[in-house]
Symmetry: C2
Subunit: 720 residues, 2 copies
């Protein structure tokens, strides 16, 4: 969050400047060979060579172009191995079918960093997948860090390097934002978009098919890159979700923390059909993605606009001390809209101290609104704006300020911009501006941009950006805990699942597993005769519940496999007989393992705790409102397992049903601590056993603290 | 939805061009007097006069400037009555304290249209409110249509008038969008913003304090204005919500239908404190506002960006036949993001016919994606774009197309734009574009804008705009029904409430009222002795419920005033005695009116039907999920009462709980027709009785069709 473009000294002493990161060769090579250059302008191969040559690159660039003596007056080589110099990096632009041979030559030449621009790999189907595997194999053999294939390339604006190894038209400005994109084409739009707003970049990477280097290694590099303050990511495909989350957790908190803003679009590797895959992702992976990103401090955004709006707020301005925003405007309407937006986004609108109000009263006309949002009135000129902005920034109740301007005929836009710039220099608190309109305000906006004061076309966007910076601040304030395994009877659980076939555990097995992990499982027994059932019922006390246990019956109530509220031995007897008779007649061939007897669970809220070993995220935990409302309101959240206490507490708070648990409408506070404990325990279980295809404690009946919670039903499905 | 700027003939024969609308003088005066002009440039009074003089106004403008012979070389008058000509319109720019005198002179002069620019009225407190009332009185006396006070003025771009009676810097382009704003300052920003995008306006009105002409009369004028295709409204304060909704209903459907897009920001007349009022509005009025706008075909938008994005889509392009969108892109990433957005917004992504796929295959390289979204690949030039766009538009499964372009080094942006323009000329289906970036794509974007092809910086915004046009289409497809009053025992209901004091009706009274209006009230009796209770219980059959009836006890269960599931005479007796004993001991002075006896209602879904006479919207109806989840998920919707059958059906469908009612997870379909009938009946009740401060049927227990629904509890509070 430095406010200048100069490099700051690395504070982490273990990462001295001398230490070489494995990706240093990708970003800061001393020499680059471009393999497959052609002499035809406006083709990718030529453009890339030309870009390196003309972007001010501080190293040496060698064109490799079989059959050409020179390219653009630079001596060309037939093969990379012919170059009589050390080569740190190769950029391969050959057609897909010969890339492997070029890559192999790079390996032989000892080149450790290769960017494969060429398309025609995984994205084109089976043949391409095979080609891509070949590249992977070669990289492994020679220890090559490969970016791509199927990408736009890499840009490093660091003046000490100044490398544009991409086919983007122009080199971006120097800045402190790193941008990583799986889509190459998007990069060109982003560069153009950023240039028009004066936004600069530290590193710019199109990583394409990520057959070699993935976003995870890039995260690690950028974490230690002292030119980068914030990391932006556009991702289409999560291959190693868990790795990404773990890397993000390291980066977004603690020493040298940097925020990550990410767009994750819908496509999954399974879905060639974008539409179908989208719908799929919305219901499943996408929901997990949103929650686990949040649990790793990754701020998920919906569009480029939103991403850059937040990124410039973070990089241009100091970190605010809190969420209180003052608004200064010459237009009531936009002031109200900004207030609406600020409150909706979770910022707060403080009242000013009396002394601030006094200053405002002295500086503004009678018709002005002295309360927050301050309305300096349509005919305000620079004097009023600066007086008001200074006053509100000096107020101890204000953490940051937003200045809104609409171009009235008397508005001296440039003077106002200059006034804001002056105050900004020593403000110490973040300032954002929204000079509304386009042409009229253009020169004023340029003055603000030059001074690195974030400017937004709409005041609402400024509020949204400020709210995202708050999210960064709050995330950093979260305690970092180590996951502490709780004492559990792991061997007892293992004994159950080791013996089990793939498919559902029976209810008594599932309860046993949950009991072994310390979940609040009610006392129960699998009975094989009616006498046994009556005896156990007498032992635990009436009323009791009978539940059929059969490997083929998953939905017990639908087949009359549940009898509730049995208040004496006689009703237990008749219910037992009736149940067995009914099920045997309806499903004559079903194996019945027995009848589970347990006590009635007192009424309470119905919650759900779910878990599974997800192919992308690994062991994953779910929590939310259970019963029929799970499906209707999807009031659930996710986290990667195992979890610590702080994460358990956040998961509980994140669902809307939390208000219910806290005791809404005068209801008693539920045993929230018990829920958190169960979450930790289920998380531990799904981490310990990698065969959990599906685990649902649904419902967990949650009562007040003195009663506690109880597992009313649990289903566990094991994979192979 | 004309695609040219020329006026279309009025199709509504009852509104011939010769007929004069009361607001014609506001928009098309033959002569204008500007009262209070000063000779100082860059002041509001001078600027307004100058704007009229230099905007190409086809009539005559007279400056009224006491003590000046001329203003800007135009002969000035001391008073408006001194002008020796008919004056159709006056624009008053005098200080607030003398506006009334100028207005009175206008009245005497026979001027029927006045625009009061001056501020210093209602917005400054009691003194201003008094001043404003004086203006209203004068308008009434002389029959003056007054715009303002406290506004920017009025613009009519019609070449036959060409009037800029405002202090906006420049006259906007001619267009078919009308913009109405309560905020004057916002207008200047909007004009600047629109100019930069080549967006024109038909009429542009800043109506300020709306002491005379309100948005409702303006709606009516614009409905009949053949220069206007779409109406945009920025509103801070809903004074006559019902009037606005009724006007909107007339305009947005039927003959000569025009869509209305509205921003309603948080401020209410009650709230000087923007923050406090905002929070208030979010919980109450704002929720009603959202739903009743929807029920009047008003599309509520959140920002200027969203508003204009939709407005240009609607006015520039023909109405699509359906919601199926084809996407053509040279960049996979943005294509996926657009697909995500389209699906999220409710558009559908069709599959192409085989013949389309064949054409695409012939025109595109092997690596192209021939499915929707069509990826013409990064190196595509105009030929590929036009071939693909033409093919998808010709496909019978496609209703509209979105073209996405990212500026690659080989992209011939202008040629592609020209190709799209050519196809657009005879496409007959809507086309939108997103040329992503800024500088690189600038000239291409200008070509599109000139051809009136909507262009969006982000593809997501194009999808959002297209989805809003779908909302217009769907709204127009809704049946227009007359509200048919159902036969009810209105007199019986009247007898109850006529006798009632302000405050809550007792339960038996409330049930009687609901019964009179035909709600499914279970058989019940207010009993005064235990014998009477036992006798009635025997009559209706066990099990029964007892409920205490006392004017001071609203929450019966909290004081043990409810006994459920009583299965025989003995339990009724003991419950009756116990209930009376308990309540008499806890509330010794409470008047107990009796004990209500009714049968148990079978289990079902808990819904809520609410109603009230709202100060802004009049009789208003609410529907949603009842019980404890009302507060948690706020799964409720609203409509103005009374309602027709189509509205009742839409209300039911609009809540998430509808899926539950339809029979989720194999559950039976609920008696949805019964719910709709109850909604209509409660709506009829709240319309018939204007003393309903609060009415809540909560819960309405909803069972499957064969069981039907039952009012389990109802509370009615009457006002004075």
């Amino acid at each position: 969050m430095a406010t200048t473009e100069t490099a700051t000294l690395q504070s982490d002493s273990s990462e001295s400047a001398a230490e070489v990161h494995p990706l240093d060769g990708v970003f800061s090579p001393k020499s680059v060979a471009v393999i497959g250059v052609t002499p035809t302008p406006n083709t990718v191969p030529f453009d890339i060579f030309q870009n390196i040559l003309t972007s001010g690159y501080r190293g040496t660039v060698y064109p490799v172009a079989p059959g050409k003596r020179s390219i653009g007056a630079v001596r060309a080589y037939r093969y990379v191995i012919d170059i009589d110099d050390d080569v740190d990096q190769a950029v391969i632009v050959f057609p897909a079918n010969v890339v492997d041979r070029a890559l192999e030559q790079c390996g032989k030449k000892g080149i450790k960093s290769v960017i494969v621009i060429s398309a025609g790999f995984r994205e084109v189907g089976p043949k391409g997948i095979k080609r891509e595997q070949r590249l992977k194999d070669i990289c492994k053999e020679y220890g090559i860090a490969m970016i791509g294939p199927n990408c736009l390339g890499v840009i490093n604006t660091d003046p000490a390097v100044s490398l544009n190894a991409s086919f983007a038209r122009k080199m971006p400005k120097v800045g402190r934002i790193a941008f990583l994109s799986q889509s190459g084409a998007l990069c060109t739009a982003v560069l153009d978009f950023a240039r028009a707003r004066g936004i600069g970049f530290s590193k710019f990477v199109s990583f394409g098919n990520k057959a070699g280097v993935t976003e995870i290694e890039l995260f690690d590099y950028l974490h230690h890159d002292d030119q980068t303050d914030v990391i932006l990511l556009y991702l289409e495909e999560l291959r190693n979700g868990r790795g990404l989350i773990e890397a993000a957790r390291r980066i977004t908190r603690g020493e040298n923390a940097k925020p990550i803003l990410a767009i994750k679009s819908g496509r999954t590797p399974q879905g060639a059909d974008a539409a179908a895959s989208h719908t799929g992702s919305l219901s499943g992976e996408d929901a997990i993605c949103g929650a686990v990103f949040e649990e790793a401090g990754v701020i998920r955004v919906g569009s480029m606009e939103e991403m850059f709006n937040a990124a410039i707020m973070y990089t241009y301005q100091p970190m605010p001390k809190g969420d209180r925003i003052a608004i200064v405007t010459n237009a009531g309407g936009p002031g109200v809209m900004a207030t609406d937006a600020a409150v909706r986004m979770g910022l707060s609108i403080p009242r000013f101290d009396q002394s601030t109000t006094d200053i405002l009263q002295d500086s503004l006309p009678d018709t002005a609104n002295l309360k927050n949002p301050v309305d300096v009135i349509g005919d305000a000129r620079a004097d009023r704006y600066t007086a008001a902005l200074k006053a509100v920034l000096d107020d101890p109740n204000v953490d940051q300020a937003l200045v809104i301007l609409t171009p009235q005929s008397m508005t001296d836009i440039d003077s106002i911009a200059r006034g804001i710039c002056q105050i900004h220099e020593k403000a110490g608190k973040p300032i954002a501006c929204s000079f509304m309109g386009a042409t009229d305000v253009h020169s004023g906006v340029e003055l603000l941009q030059e001074a690195r004061i974030p400017h937004y076309v709409l005041p609402e966007w400024a509020c949204e950006a400020m709210a995202k910076v708050q999210a960064v601040r709050q995330w950093r304030g979260q305690p970092i805990e180590q996951v502490q395994p709780l004492p559990v009877a792991r061997d007892a659980a293992r004994a159950v699942s080791a013996a089990a076939e793939p498919g559902y555990l029976s209810e008594d097995e599932a309860l046993r597993v949950m009991g072994a992990y310390g979940l609040p499982v009610p006392r129960h027994k699998l009975c094989f005769t009616v006498e046994e059932a009556v005896e156990f019922a007498g032992e635990i006390g009436y009323p009791v519940v009978l539940r059929i246990v059969s490997p083929l019956i998953v939905h017990k109530s639908e087949v009359k496999g549940v009898a509730l509220n049995l208040s004496n031995a006689a009703t237990v007897r008749s219910a037992y007989d009736q149940m067995l008779r009914h099920i045997s007649s309806v499903f004559p061939d079903t194996e019945i393992r027995g009848v589970l007897v347990r006590g009635m669970i007192p009424a309470g809220h119905e919650l759900i705790i779910g878990a599974k070993c997800d192919p992308v995220f690994g062991p994953t935990l779910m929590f939310g409102l259970g019963g029929i409302y799970v499906e209707l309101f999807k009031d659930v959240t996710f986290a990667l397992a195992p979890i610590d206490r702080a994460t358990a507490a956040r998961m509980a708070r994140r669902v809307k049903a939390y208000r219910l648990l806290e005791g809404m409408r005068g209801g008693a506070r539920a045993d929230i601590e018990g829920i958190q404990e169960s979450l930790i325990r289920v998380g531990q279980h799904v981490s310990d056993f990698d065969r959990i295809a599906e685990l649902d404690v649904n419902p967990l009946i949650v009562g007040p603290a003195e009663t506690g919670n109880a597992v009313a039903d649990v289903r566990i499905r094991l994979s192979e």
